[in-house]
Each structure stands twice: as C-alpha cells, then as structure tokens.
C-alpha cells in the first residue's frame, strides 16, 4: 500500500495501536500526501518525511484517537457514576442487614472479586494510551461485569430483602438505568 519504507513503518506503528479500519483510512491519506510531495520534490525519502510530518507523529495521532474514543468515554462515565450507584447499594445493604442473608461465602467472594476486577478494568481503560484494542477490551469486560453485578444485586434484593426500604428507591433505578444504557450503547459501539 505504501510506496516508501518510512511510510510503511509509520503505518505498522499505527497498526499496533489503532483499529484496522482507522489505519486503512489513514493509509489512504498518507499515501496521497506522499504522492503530493513526491510530485513536488521527486525525492521519495524527502516526500515520505514531509508526508509523515504533515500527518503527525504516531503518538500525536494515537492521542487524538484515544481522546475521541467512545470506549474511553464510556469507561470514564462508568467510573464517574460507579461510586454513586455503589453508595446507593451500600446504604441499601446496610439498611436491609445484608450480612444476615443466607448467601454462601463463595458467592460473596465471587461478587467481591468481580467488582474489584471490573473497577480495575475501568481504570485500565481510562489510563490506556498505547493500544486501542486493549482499551476496547477492558471497557467491554468492565461493562459486561457491571451488568452482571447489577443483575445479581437486583435478584438478591428481590429474593432476600425483607421489606422495601428507602435506599432501594435510589439503588434499583440507578442499576436499571445503568443496565439499559449499557445494553443500548454496546451494540452500536461493537458495530464500529
């Protein structure tokens, strides 16, 4: 696709960090820029350097893609809203004396571990600066993890809570909204 090794190197470096379709689109533009400068200078080396200079370094391009990434935005949104939903559930569990519920220790530990892994995945996605695919995978895993945690908590409350209590009025809608928003957003994001 590229006519000069420098261009090919630049594209290979971008391919390690960005989605294939984005790299394909950039490759077309970079090739056209290279041809423009080649027509001006007649020197492939100079034309390749000028084209890369006009496009921007790998780090600059990657940073621009990460800034605009819907996956990163989703990770930041889930990170920002997570403590609020968590606090609402915390208040609900305390009010319902959840420690007295007949839930096996293994289930409790599994829930805690899933929660910890989910938060770690969100932090990883929000801080990732090098590999788009890694950020995408981390956000996807965290989104699915949060859906599972929300659903489990809703089932637990429905089956085990003795009576309705006021913190549920915040926690249940918050979880339902998060599940629905994530399920609505995920297919669109996955399709791109």
């Amino acid at each position: 696709m590229a006519d000069h090794e420098l261009i090919a190197q630049h594209l290979r470096a971008l391919a390690c960090r960005l989605p294939p379709q984005a790299v394909e689109e950039i490759a077309d533009g970079l090739h056209e820029t290279f041809e423009k400068y080649l027509a001006i200078s007649g020197d492939p080396e100079r034309a390749a350097r000028a084209a890369i200079g006009e496009f921007g370094e790998v780090g600059l391009i990657t940073a621009a893609f990460f800034r605009e990434s819907p996956w990163r935005r989703a990770a930041l949104t889930l990170l920002a809203t997570g403590p609020l939903v968590g606090a609402a559930w915390g208040a609900t569990l305390v009010a319902a004396h959840a420690w007295t519920w007949p839930v096996p220790l293994a289930v409790r530990m599994l829930y805690g571990t899933t929660l910890a892994v989910t938060v770690l995945a969100l932090l990883l996605a929000a801080r990732e600066r090098r590999a788009y695919r890694r950020m995408r995978r981390a956000t996807l895993a965290a989104a699915l993890g949060l859906i599972a945690l929300d659903v489990l908590m809703l089932i637990a409350i429905a089956l085990l809570a003795p009576v309705p209590m006021w913190p549920m009025a915040i926690a249940i809608p918050a979880s339902l909204i998060r599940i629905l928003a994530t399920l609505r957003w995920l297919p669109t994001a996955l399709a791109r």
Partner: protein, 112 residues
C-alpha cells in the same frame, strides 16, 4: 493557528468543509487549509478521529470505496449535519459580533 485555539470550533469547520460535497479525510483537511488561507493547518492524522466523532453523532455519513487500488472512506454532510452547521454559523456570527464590539478601538479619554 494552534489547535487549542480551535477548541469548540473544529466541528463547525469540518462540517463547513463538507458543505460543498463529499470528501475523504485528507481532502477535508486540505479544504479546511485552503478555505482559511493556510492559517488552519492541522496535523492530518488528528482530523480522522474528529470525523469519526461527527459520524457517530450522525452529522456526517461515511462510506467506503476503492480508489487507485486503495480503500477510501468518503464523508458527506447529513441533514442533521446541515442543521448543525447553520447553528454553528449563527452562533459564531453572534459571538464574533460581540467580541468585535468589545475589542473594537475606542478613542482615548482626554485628560484636559
């Protein structure tokens, strides 16, 4: 012109570049550069994510084709993009008029 100076205006500029007809990413950047007399010349690689964001927002629509053996993504303004561009224009004109009025040269007050 520095990229930071464009903060908040890049979307309108990209939409305006597509007003005349469909363009691919590099051509959008070239159109923007030409329309501003070379004063706005962004690193081309940073234009693509902005175009993708506008596409996700439904303001432009992209389609793939093959040109000279290479896959090329071309963008066109959607109806929603046209309306957004009109809004950007009106907002900018109002803002520019206000700033021009505020920064306009005034005579120095006399002291005697």
């Amino acid at each position: 012109m520095r990229a930071e100076a464009l903060k908040g205006h890049l979307d309108g500029l990209l939409l305006a570049a597509l007003e005349e007809g469909p363009l691919h990413g590099y051509a959008v950047k070239e159109a923007l550069c030409a329309a501003t007399g070379g004063r706005i010349d962004l690193p081309t690689g940073t234009v693509y994510p902005a175009l993708h964001r506008l596409e996700r927002a439904g303001l432009i629509a992209g389609s793939w084709s093959v040109v000279a053996g290479r896959r090329r993504r071309t963008y066109r303004l959607t109806e929603a993009g046209g309306r957004a561009l009109s809004g950007e224009r009106a907002g900018w004109q109002e803002f520019a008029a206000a700033v021009t009025t505020a920064l306009g040269a005034r005579p120095w007050p006399t002291t005697s």
